[in-house]
Structures are given as structure tokens and as C-alpha cells.
Amino acid sequence: MLPALTLVLGGSVLMAASLLLKTGANRDVHGQRTYMALISLALLVSAGLFGYFRVVPEELGQGMFRFDDAALASERLALLGGLILVLMSWSTAPSSHLGEYYGGLLIMIGAVPVVGASNDLVSLFLGLELISIPTYVLLGIVKGDNAGAEATIKYFLLSAFASSFFLLGVSYLYGFVGSTNLQVIQSNFSGAGRLTSFALVLVMCGLAFRVTAVPFHFYAPDVFDGTSLTMAGIMSYLPKVAGFVALIRVMGTGLNSQTIEIVVPVLFVCSALTMLVGNFFASAQNNLRRLLAYSSVAHTGYLMLAMTALLRDNAEPNVLYSYLAAYAAMTLGFFACLGEIEAAGGKTQLIGDLSGMFYRRPAASLGMTVCLISMIGLPLTAGFWAKFLVFMGTIAAGTKDGLSIAMAILMAFNAVIAAGYYWRVLSKLYEKSDEYLPLRVFRPSLFVAYTICVVLTIVWFFVPAVM
């Protein structure tokens, strides 16, 4: 638990320290930014070291937390994403509330492993709220920003709405067994009726909000549109990781051969709708932010498909986590590239704003190219393996299961639609335009952030085992 504790406590300290930070006109904004970012990085690194040197006991026990594969994977994913996000924040964090910003961000990063390691419904819910509450803070951190305020309110209300479903489902689960411990629930879980399935579906609906699955995706485009790029990056990644790990946690306990037959079709339907809605809506967009939001929705659809494969033991256990890792590299890398363009004075609101960007900002454009190719899922990038593994996991059920085959075909079909709109963005980058105003401002932190993402994206293609 030490890595998560480091991050959550460190985040709290940073938040408290914000009271001590000088405000007013004559403060040293640049220094404050640097120190805050460096402290956050130091916390992340020490959390990583704690995680690396942790001795995992042979007997995992039945306590509140349990360090199995899911816990370790979620911790690594959170730290990886956290590293990139902190680097992105270095030059993009709102200068008026640095302490609150970094504090919130670190708490969110630290909460992901809390969710991942949870062996109890209470701690799981605690972890999820530990992600949600800082999200509200971060979304509304710039006062007087109308779009931001709107996004915050929308997110807050819908999040509360979704949490209520989650709690309802959890209370059913508690009702059946009389314990909140997930392992106790699993060993005493005899129910096979509709009610138990219904409880599981309710839990799933509650978590579907975190992962932006249909029909809980509505907030995504509005929020992505109304907030900063870094924040959009945070929103597209951290809640998704936490949501999926929580899904694995809860669904994994409640599943037996009878419930699986009810839950898997529900997941299939959700996944199909999520893919279709994400891709159809994205292909109609000219607004880059909204396009990215829908693309994140579409990726949720593929991830849900990966989850069905995982729940049915059809795939390697790392199929979901490797997809999330590839997703982290490509999406956060793309946001970092956009962030650099914005920091250099370019606009990134509409797809058209990127026209001829290769001639204005070559490094960031190449980074975006790699990330987009990875999102399409072409070889030479991690995205290829990610999609390939999900696809293999889905058809592994074999020819006897027509529904799985149909889902695999639907996924391929969706990948084609997605390629269409990603390619639209990609071709804009290399469009010959009349204005060749080079963007010259250089932000090392953002450059490092997307370089890490690009290198990971390419290296993971050649060494997929470490993904």
C-alpha cells in the first residue's frame, strides 16, 4: 500500500502547502511551477520505487487490500500515466492554484492503485470517490471560466447519478451475503437468479460512467470541450483505468457459469453500442476535442470487449492491461503534442486548426502521427498489438459461439470507421497551407512527455511482452 499512500499523503501535503505559497503580483510563478512539478515527480518516483521493491507475500490474505495481478497492473498503469500527466502539467497547470492542482492530480493517481488493490466494497468505493472528488476540483479550478464551470457541474451531477447506481448494486450484493469483503462474497455466492445478475448489472452501470461507456458517455464531449488539454488527458485516462479495474474486481467475484451467461451479453450490447456511438459521432465531428472524446468512448468499447474475453478466460490475463498501457501512450502522447502546439501559440480546437502543422511544428506533428497510427491500430505501433489481442481474445471462444464472432466482426468494422476519422486528422497535419508561421516556443516538459509516449508506442510493438 506504500506507493498509493505516498501519493495520496503527498498530494494532501501539497494541497495544504498551497496555503503557504505566495500569491499576489510579485510571486515567482516560474519557480513555483518548477518546484511543484519536481516535488510531484519525486513523489511519483519514490512511489514507483516502493512498488518496485515491494515483497509480495505468498499468501495474499483476505483483508481490505489484496496485491494480486490486477492490483500490480493498475499500480503500474497509474504510475506510467501519472508520470506523463505530471510532465504535461509542468507548463500547463493553472498558475493561480498550483498547490491544489498538483495535490488533486497526485491524489487521483494514488487512488487508482487503491481501487486496484481493493478487496472490499467499501474500500473500492472509497477509492473511486478519491478519484471523483479531485476531478471536480481540477475541472473547476479556473474561476470565472464559464465553459469550465458548465463542464464541472455536468460532470458532478452525472457522476453522482452514476454513483447512486453503483451503490444500489453494491447494497444488493451486501444483502445477499452479509459481508462487504469481495472474497467472502465470492465464496458464499450461490445466487444464480435474475436478482443477482441485476445487481451485477447495476454495479456495471455505475462503473460504466467512469469508463465513459454508452449510455453514460454524454458528459465526455462536453467536458473535453470545456476544459484544458491536460485535464482532458487526465479525464480520458485515470478514471478509465480505475473503472475497468473496479469492474474486474466486482464482476470477477460475482461470476459463475450461470451469471456469466447473463452478464456477458449485457457487456456485448454495451460494448457494441459504445463502439458504434463513439465512432459514428466522432466521424461527424470537426471539433478536435469532441472527436477525441468520442474516440475515447470508442476505445472503451474495445476495452469492454477485452473484458468479456478476460471474464471468460479466453485471453491472456494481460489483454486488458496491455490495451490500457497502449491507450495511455497513444492518447496521452497525443494530448501532450496538442499541448505543445497550444503552448507555442497554436490553436487546437478544430481539426482545421492543425492544417499544415507539420511545416509549422514538425516534432509535435511527428509525435501525433505515431499516436494516430497507434490509435488506428496499424503495425509498428503498440496499438496494433492492443487491438490484435482483443480481437484474438474475442474470437477465441470459437466457432460455436456466433455472438462472439459477430462482435469480432463488428469490432473490425468499427476499426475501419475509426481509421477514417483518424486519417482525416493525420492528413490535415501534412496539408500544404499558405501560412508557414513556425511555432517556435519550446517546452521541454511537454517534449519529454510525448517523446516517452512515442518511444513506448514504438518499442512496445517490437517487445510486446513488457507492455
Binding site: L158, L202, P215, F218, Y219, D222, S283, A284, F388, V463
Partner: protein
């Protein structure tokens, strides 16, 4: 430790490639040669370490495991390196010559805007080539086979704004593609046949194609599926002759001279084109059971050696003379490999081919670099009609070219004499065989005639360029100058190789004994040194040089008899082979592709565009739901969950 060395051989150029790519993206023109040269020198040093420490081990081959690339379902891909003396001997040639040429290129390419791009692809080529040589698996070899092909394409078309260069690159790529297609079929058929053969462990498609597995399965396949094995042999052979530019695939190599001259020296003379020879040598345990394939190899080699020498006689472009000469010499290598059709001669045949491969790499690279010096001084003019008598202008290049030319002509005791003699001796041995003897007698004759022609065209090119009246084209300006020391010093090393390699490796049996450590090349057959072969080839070299000198004095326009005119006409026009290809293959294909193009734009495209607009349409329709109003969102959500609940309740 050995494992680290073995892995560093390809990884070092890969790092160089990455560094140069980054530099080329930044538009660098100054320091891109540093990472390339350093990485290539390191690669060469690591190779030498491998040789000195005997990385092939006691058993003659060692597998250095890398990592498991993929493990999905029944498919497992392992990336590993296999080191034995056969691959080490080629590896030394590849890495050392590439390091030399990289140093040479530093001054040769220094004014080019694509300086960094040049080095990036250069390193990429060396990476692919070393991986190709070190592959433990036929499929992995194929992957890097394509890798070197791609790099060759990029380098031939390096000056892609020049239409002839772009065309030459496309031609090289497409001709290779046709051959590679057969190669791939051969690999797949081999995997299939192994799966069908009783008693072969055929668990995994990729692991099945490991060289060790293939060779252990060959005897079983030869008894159970002899006709399939012969087909496989032919298909793999086509792959080899495509990359090594043998008849009928030789047409791409002369055009490939459109690339920068150092590239011609490295890829299209010393290393990549020998990949086909390496493949045949590597697969010798397989081809041993298919003598029909080997006799075809010998014939194709013989035909190529002869016709390429014929064409080389009548070229005016110095680089093209060298290109045809390369094709011709590769023909020699294939003739030698073909002699393996006779059971006992396999090992000797492979040894002779590898020997000539090594020496040829040195002197041909030297000749190309000398031609590069000439071209550099003459302002990119390489037509021998426009310059002459350059021995005063380029005194050092004159000597270096002379050494290379003498080695190529086979003048004793230079490298080319010994290695060519080795091949002729193998052919002479083969001609004594009962079954194939007559064939190889004819091939031996072709070998002698070609040796004479080689001496003729080499000396003619030398005397035309460096002797006679001094003539410098206008393009050279007034400062036609000798190459810089940076360019000359690697050439000196190559020249030493061209002089000494033959004497050091051949008569002393150093290379033969070294290659004998490879398990597949263990059994030493009886091989007789034939003095008369040596004497005849030495005399032919001297006579040929004399004739060449005479021809260079006569000049091009002194045709007398009708037969000679026809002979010259055929040679000058490349025996009309390119014309026939154009007429029979390219023109009908272009016509057909125009038809398909019409179909594509008018039918498929319009259909595809209609289909492509559907998702957008759906999206635009759906956007009405996404109206930014919270009550609407939560309403749809609630309805969705209610629908789910009803669905579950009624199941």
C-alpha cells in the same frame, strides 16, 4: 559475453540508424556521419571479437536467445541469433566493408542536402543485413531479406527528384518483388511439407522453420515427398537469384547504379547482392537432396556470367561496366554453388563460392569507390567517352583502380586470381562426374571464356579512363582534383584486402578449414588442385589484358566485320532482354492496370465513398441527442438502464 557481442553486431547499426533519423528530421548536414561511422565501426569490432573468441562454440553453431516476440494462441515467435562460421565469414565482410564505405561517404556525400537521410538508410541497411545473416529461422531471414530490399530501394532512389533514379528504384523493387514472391511461396510450401511429413516435430509454424529443424527434416522429406522438396528447392532458388541479380532477374542491377556510388559499392557489389549466394550456401543441406535444382543453379550462373560479361564489353558508362561485371562475377558464384549437384563436392563448392564472395567484395568495392572518385572529380560525369587519360589528374585513384582491376581480371597473385581459380577448379572436378560431367565441362568452358572477357573489359575500362590523351569534361570545371584523404584511406584498406586476401585465405586453406567448422559443411570431400586450370586462367588474364589494351587504343568506332557489329550491337543493347521484358511483360501489365484504374475510380471508389459517408451521416443524426442539456442526458441514461433491467428480467 558472446551473446552480448552477437547482439551488439546488429543493434549498434540500429542505434546509429535511429540517431541519424533524428538528425535528418532536424535537417542536419554536419554531424550525421558521426553516429553512423561510430556505430558501424563498433559493429565491425564486435564481429571481429566474435571471430577471435570463436563464438561458434564447440558444436560449430551457437544460438543466442533474444526474446519471445509473440505468444498468441498457437503462434510463438522467438527472435534469436544463430552464429556459425559460415555466417561469421560473411558478417566480417559486411560489417568491415560497410564501416570503410561509411567513412568514404563522409566526404563523398558532404554537399548533399540528404546527408543525414543517407546515413540513416545506410545504417538501416547494415542492421537488416546483419540480422539477415544471423537469422536462426527462415521466416526471420525472409523478414530481413525484405528489409535489405527496402533499404536498397530507398538508396537507389536516393535522388528521387531525378526521374531516372526513381524509375530505377521502382524497377529494382519490382523485379525483386517477383522473385521474393516465389521465395515466400517456397518458405510456405516448406513449412507445409514439414507439417505433412511423418516423424517431423511440427508443433509450431514459426519454430518449424528454424534452420536446425529444417535440416533434420530434410532426409525424411526427401524420402516421403521428393517432388515437393524439388519444387521447394526451385522456389527458394528463384528468391536467391532475384536478390543476386542472376538471369533472368539481372535487369535491375545495372539500373541500380543511379544511386550514390558508395551505395553501389556496398549494396550492389559487396553485400546485399551476395545474400542470394549466402542463402544457397546456408540451405546447402537442403539442396543437397535436390541435384536438379543445383544443376539449374549452375546453368543460370553460367549463362549470367557469360551474357553479363558480353554486355560489360560494350558499355561506355564506367559504373555500368562495373555493374555488369558484378552480375557476371555473381554468376561465377552460382556456377560454383551448382557444382554441389555432385554429392561429394558440396562442401568444396560452398567453400569456393564463399571464397570468391569475400575477395570479390573487397576488390569490387574498391573499384566502385575508385569510380566514385572519378565521378566526383569529373563533376558527376561517368561516361568514358567524355574523359580519358586521368592518370595525372587522379594519380592515387589511378593506382587503386589498377589494383582493383588487376584483381578482378584475375592477374596472379592478386585475390581474384586465387578465388576464381578455386571456382574453375571445382568446375573442373565436377566435369569428371559420370552423371553431370558433360554439363560441367561446358560450364567450365564458359568459365574460361568469361574469365578472358572479364580481363578484356576490365583492362579496357582502365586504359580508357586513365591512359591515353588527357580529356576532362566541362562539367568538372577547372578544379578536377584528387579525392581527399578521408576518401582514400578506406580505399587503401580495401586495396590491401584485394591484394592479400586471396593469398592469405586460399592456398593456405584458412577459409576452407574455418568454414568446415559449420556442422553442415563438415565432411571434406576429395578435392584436387589442378595446376593446368591455374595456368590457363593466369594466361587468359594476361592475354585478356592485352586485348583490352588494344581495344582501348582502337576506340569505339572501328567495327569491321558484320558479325562483330552484331556482337557489339547486342552487347550495347543488353541483348535486348530489357526490351523483350518491356514488350512482353511491362506493356501488357500497364494496359491492364489502366483498365483496373478505370474500374477503381469509377466503380470501387464511388461505391466506397458512398459507404464511407454513412458513419458520418449517422453521427450527424445522433448529434441531436448530444444537445448539451443535462436533463436529456440523465433521461436517456435512465431509460437505458431501465431497458437493461427489463431485458434481464424477461430472459
Amino acid at each position: 559475453m558472446h551473446s552480448l557481442f552477437a547482439w551488439m553486431v546488429p543493434i549498434s547499426p540500429l542505434l546509429g540508424c535511429i540517431a541519424c533519423t533524428i538528425l535528418s528530421l532536424r535537417g542536419d548536414r554536419k554531424i550525421a556521419h558521426l553516429p553512423a561511422i561510430i556505430s558501424l565501426v563498433f559493429s565491425a569490432l564486435f564481429t571481429i571479437c566474435l571471430v577471435l573468441f570463436g563464438a561458434q562454440g564447440e558444436s560449430g553453431n551457437t544460438l543466442f536467445e533474444g526474446y519471445r516476440y509473440l505468444n498468441v494462441g498457437g503462434l510463438t515467435l522467438d527472435i534469436s541469433l544463430k552464429v556459425d562460421t559460415l555466417c561469421l565469414s560473411l558478417l566480417v565482410v559486411v560489417t568491415s566493408i560497410s564501416a570503410m564505405i561509411a567513412i568514404y561517404s563522409k566526404d563523398y556525400m558532404h554537399d548533399d542536402p540528404g546527408f543525414a537521410r543517407y546515413y540513416a538508410v545506410f545504417c538501416g541497411f547494415v542492421f537488416s543485413m546483419t540480422m539477415l545473416v544471423l537469422s536462426h529461422n527462415l521466416l526471420m531471414l525472409y523478414a530481413f531479406w525484405e528489409g535489405v530490399g527496402t533499404c536498397s530501394y530507398l538508396l537507389i532512389g536516393f535522388w528521387f527528384r531525378k526521374p531516372s533514379a526513381a524509375k530505377a528504384a521502382t524497377k529494382a523493387f519490382l523485379v525483386n518483388r517477383v522473385a521474393d514472391c516465389f521465395f515466400l511461396f517456397g518458405i510456405l510450401l516448406l513449412a507445409y511439407t514439414m507439417g505433412q511429413t511423418q516423424g517431423v516435430d511440427a508443433a509450431n509454424f514459426f519454430a518449424r522453420l528454424d534452420f536446425t529443424n529444417i535440416f533434420s527434416a530434410v532426409p525424411l522429406m526427401a524420402t516421403q515427398h521428393p517432388e515437393l522438396l524439388t519444387t521447394i528447392g526451385f522456389l527458394l532458388m528463384i528468391g536467391a537469384i532475384g536478390k543476386s541479380a542472376q538471369f533472368p532477374f539481372h535487369v535491375w542491377l545495372p539500373d541500380a547504379m543511379e544511386g550514390p556510388t558508395p551505395v553501389s559499392a556496398l549494396i550492389h557489389a559487396a553485400t546485399m547482392v551476395t545474400a542470394g549466394v549466402y542463402l544457397m550456401a546456408r540451405l546447402s543441406p537442403l539442396t543437397e537432396s535436390t541435384p536438379a535444382v543445383l544443376s539449374a543453379v549452375a546453368w543460370l550462373g553460367g549463362i549470367t556470367a557469360f551474357i553479363a560479361a558480353w554486355m560489360a564489353l560494350f558499355q561506355d558508362d564506367l559504373k555500368r561496366v562495373l555493374a555488369y561485371s558484378t552480375v557476371s562475377q555473381l554468376g561465377y558464384l552460382f556456377m560454383a554453388l551448382g557444382a554441389g549437384a555432385i554429392k561429394d563436392l558440396m562442401v568444396v563448392a560452398v567453400t569456393a563460392a564463399m571464397f570468391h564472395l569475400v575477395t570479390h567484395a573487397f576488390f569490387k568495392a574498391l573499384l566502385f569507390l575508385s569510380a566514385g572518385n572519378v565521378m566526383h572529380a569529373m563533376g558527376d560525369i561517368i561516361d568514358m567517352r567524355q574523359f580519358g587519360g586521368l592518370r595525372k589528374v587522379l594519380p592515387k585513384t589511378n593506382i587503386l583502380f589498377l589494383i582493383g582491376a588487376a584483381a578482378l581480371a584475375g592477374l596472379p597473385p592478386l585475390a581474384g586470381f586465387f578465388s576464381k581459380d578455386g571456382i574453375l577448379a571445382v568446375l573442373a572436378d565436377a566435369s569428371k562426374d559420370g552423371e553431370y560431367g558433360n554439363q560441367f565441362s561446358i560450364l567450365l568452358g564458359i568459365g574460361f571464356v568469361t574469365a578472358l572477357m572479364t580481363a578484356v573489359y576490365t583492362s579496357r575500362a582502365y586504359f580508357r579512363t586513365f591512359h591515353g590523351n588527357e580529356k576532362v569534361p566541362d562539367e568538372a570545371g577547372h578544379h578536377a582534383h584528387e579525392a581527399t584523404n578521408v576518401m582514400l584511406s578506406p580505399m587503401l584498406v580495401l586495396a590491401i584486402g584485394a591484394v592479400l586476401a586471396g593469398l592469405a585465405l586460399g592456398p593456405t586453406h584458412v577459409l576452407g578449414n574455418y568454414l568446415g567448422q559449420t556442422p553442415a559443411l563438415h565432411a571434406h570431400g576429395e578435392h584436387h588442385e589442378e595446376l593446368w586450370v591455374m595456368a590457363v586462367s593466369g594466361i587468359l588474364a594476361v592475354v585478356g589484358i592485352g586485348i583490352g589494351y588494344g581495344l582501348s587504343k582502337l576506340g569505339p568506332s572501328t567495327a569491321s566485320s558484320g558479325a562483330w557489329v552484331a556482337f557489339a550491337d547486342f552487347g550495347r543493347n543488353r541483348l535486348y532482354i530489357d526490351w523483350v521484358y518491356n514488350f512482353l511483360l511491362v506493356a501488357p501489365l500497364e494496359w491492364f492496370s489502366r483498365l483496373l484504374g478505370w474500374f477503381d475510380t469509377n466503380v470501387i471508389d464511388s461505391l466506397a465513398m458512398q459507404i464511407a459517408s454513412v458513419p458520418r451521416l449517422f453521427g450527424l443524426l445522433g448529434q441531436r441527442v448530444q444537445n448539451g442539456r443535462l436533463p436529456g442526458y440523465s433521461y436517456i441514461t435512465a431509460v437505458g438502464i431501465a431497458a437493461l433491467a427489463v431485458w434481464i428480467a424477461t430472459r
